[in-house]
Symmetry: C2
C-alpha cells in the first residue's frame, strides 16, 4: 500500500484537506472538536505529514547547511571544525533549525551547492575568486563565509590570520629561538578544481614572513627554519615528531598551525625526556578546549571557534529574516601559557 496522505485523512475524517493541514500546522484555527477528531484519525491511520511536500509548498526547509571542502570523514577529525559546529549548532538549536553537514559530492562542490536542500549555507574558507560565490548567487541562496575575506561583498566572519601568526612568531623570536620547526596545515585532500581554499594558510604565511623581516632574520630563517606538513595519521605524525626532535641541532621551538599538531610533540618529548618548555618550546594555533589541559598548558593563538560559528549562524539567520548585516572581524590574541620559554642557554 502507498503512503497515507493528507487526502486520506480528509476523506476518512469527513473534513477537507485544508482543515487537516490546519490541524497540524495551526491548531488554533480549527474547532477543538475538529482538531481532536482529525488527530484521532491521523493517529489511527498512521499519518504523518510529508516533509518534502511541506518544503516545496512553504519554500522553507528549516535547516542550515555547513559546507566544507573536505570529505565528511575528515571533517569530524578536526576539533577546530567541531568548535565551529558547536557555535553554529547553538543558534540552530535556539532557532529550531536542523544542521546539514555538506561536503563535495563525488568531489564536486558545485553539485553539493545545487542539491543541498537548505535555507542557507555557511561555508569555510573560500577565496574571493572562487566560483562558489557565483553559484550561490545563481541559486539565490543566502550564505555566510568563515575565514574568508572580510572586506569583500559577501558576509564573512573571520580573524586577522596574518597578524596573529606574526605575533605568535614574534614571541618565539623574542625569546631567542632561532631553530624553529613549523608544522603547516595540510592541504585539503579533495579534488575540488573550481575553488581555492588556502586563504588561511597564505595569510598566516605572510604574517610569519613579516615577523622574520621585522627581526632581520631572513638568512637565519633560510638556514634553520624547518617547514613541513604534519600528517593527520597519528603514527606518521609521531614518527615525524621523533625525527625532528632527535635530529642533530634539533629545533628549540615548534610552531604548530593547529593545536592538534602539538600533541605528538608533547608525546615524543616526554618519551625522550625533553622538558617543555625548558628544553623545547611549543606553540599552537586555535586554542582547543583540551589545549589548556596539556601539561604544561599550551601557548597558543586563541581562535574564537565557537564564537565564530555562533556569529556566522547568527548572521545567516538574520539575513534569512531579511535583515541587513555586516561582516565581522574577531579578536585572536596570543595567549602565553606554560609551553614557551627562553631558548636554552647551551643551544644559543
Amino acid at each position: 500500500m502507498g503512503k497515507v496522505t493528507i487526502k486520506d485523512i480528509a476523506k476518512r475524517s469527513g473534513y477537507s484537506k485544508t482543515s487537516v493541514s490546519f490541524a497540524f500546522n495551526n491548531p488554533g484555527r480549527v474547532a477543538k472538536e475538529t482538531y481532536e477528531h482529525i488527530m484521532a484519525v491521523a493517529q489511527e491511520m498512521g499519518y504523518s505529514p510529508d516533509p518534502a511536500a511541506r518544503i516545496l509548498a512553504t519554500r522553507k526547509t528549516k535547516t542550515v547547511g555547513f559546507l566544507l571542502p573536505q570529505p565528511i570523514e575528515e571533517i569530524f577529525d578536526n576539533q577546530y571544525l567541531s568548535e565551529l559546529m558547536r557555535g553554529i549548532g547553538s543558534v540552530c538549536h535556539r532557532e529550531g533549525f536542523m544542521l546539514s553537514v555538506l561536503s563535495p559530492l563525488k568531489g564536486i562542490i558545485s553539485q553539493t551547492i545545487q542539491q543541498a536542500c537548505v535555507d542557507g549555507i555557511i561555508i569555510l574558507g573560500v577565496s574571493n575568486s572562487s566560483s562558489v560565490h557565483a553559484q550561490f548567487r545563481q541559486r539565490k541562496l543566502p550564505y555566510v563565509t568563515m575565514d574568508a575575506d572580510n572586506s569583500a561583498d559577501y558576509l564573512n566572519v573571520g580573524i586577522d590570520d596574518e597578524k596573529a601568526a606574526e605575533e605568535m612568531l614574534d614571541l618565539l623570536l623574542d625569546y631567542g629561538h632561532r631553530r624553529i620547526c613549523f608544522c603547516t596545515l595540510q592541504p585539503i585532500s579533495t579534488d575540488i578544481v573550481d575553488t581555492e581554499f588556502s586563504l588561511t594558510s597564505d595569510n598566516r604565511g605572510n604574517g610569519i614572513l613579516k615577523s622574520i623581516k621585522k627581526h632581520n632574520l631572513e638568512e637565519t630563517a633560510k638556514n634553520s627554519f624547518i617547514f613541513y606538513e604534519a600528517s593527520h595519521k597519528q603514527e606518521e605524525a609521531v614518527k615525524k615528531a621523533r625525527e625532528i626532535l632527535t635530529m642533530p641541532n634539533r629545533p628549540t621551538a615548534i610552531y604548530c598551525m593547529g593545536d592538534h599538531q602539538a600533541i605528538p610533540f608533547y608525546f615524543v618529548a616526554a618519551q625522550l625526556g625533553l622538558k617543555i618548555p625548558q628544553d623545547l618550546s611549543i606553540t599552537g594555533f586555535d586554542d582547543l578546549p583540551s589545549s589548556s589541559m596539556l601539561f604544561p598548558p599550551l601557548t597558543v593563538v586563541h581562535q574564537p571557534g565557537y564564537e565564530k560559528g555562533r556569529l556566522a549562524a547568527e548572521l545567516l539567520v538574520a539575513s534569512l529574516n531579511g535583515q541587513e548585516c555586516k561582516s565581522v572581524l574577531m579578536e585572536s590574541p596570543v595567549i602565553e601559557r606554560g609551553s614557551t620559554a627562553k631558548v636554552p642557554e647551551n643551544t644559543k
Copy 2:
C-alpha cells in the same frame, strides 16, 4: 522577479520541460546539440533545479540523518560521537549521500522525526521501550540504531557494554586496587520525555557489579568505591579531579566511562607530582585516537567508534536498497597500555 524555473528554460530554449529535465539529470538521453543549447540558456538565465521539487518528485533526498538526543551544541563536544560520524561519513561520501545532524527540535524528538527530510536515520541509544520505534514505523522511515538492543526486532550495531565494563574492572581489581573512583557518564541534558536513553550506562553498571561480586568485594565497594558524574566543563572537571586526588586515602585507580574524563586526571596528577601508573592507575572507555598519545598511553576498553558508524551507515543504505540485514555485535577488547599497574605497596 520570481525564481526561474524549468518552465522558463523550456520556453526560452524552445524545448519541453522534459528535455530540460533530462539535460540536467540524464544528459545521455538527449541530443548533444539539445543539451548544449539548454545548458546555455540555463546558464544565461541563472537557472538551477530546485532541490525541494526534485525530492518531492523522486521521493529521494539522498541524505541520511544522524539523530542524537542531545542539543546540537553538545554533540560536537563529544569525540566519541565524532568517531561515529566519521564512520557514517565515510559511507555517505562513498554513496553520495549528505549527512544531516538531527537533534530534538525544541527538546522534542518526535518533532525531529516528523520533520527530518531524509531517506533514513541512524539513531543512538534508544531503549526497546522507546516510542521512537513506533514513530519511525509510522513514517515508514528506515532506521538503524547504535548502542541499543542487539536482539530486538530493529537493526542495531553495538558492543557488549556489560562484558567490556566488567573486564575493565577485573583488570583493576586483579591488580589489587581497592580504592577506585568511577567517573560515570553524564545524563543527557535535554527534556526528552518520551524516550529513554540510558541503556549504555545501565549495561556498564551491571558489568561493574558482576566484577565486584566475582571478586567478593561487595563490602569493600560500598566503603571505598566512589561514583560521580564528571562535568563536561573543563574547569569543574579539573577541580573535581583535584579534590579526588588530594583527599585522604585517595583512590589508587580512576575508572573513566569515557576517555575524555581521563584528561583532567592526567593534568592534575602531573601538577601534584603523582606518577602514572606507579602512584595512580587510570582507565578509559572508548579509545579515542588521542588516547594512545597521552603520556603514558591510556589503558582502555577499545570501542570501535569509526567502524560502528561505518557499519550502521552500511546497514542503512543496504536496507534503503531493499536488502535484508541483521544487527551486528562488535568486539570491544580491553587494551592495556601504560596507564595501569599494580596497586602501590604502601597503600595496600
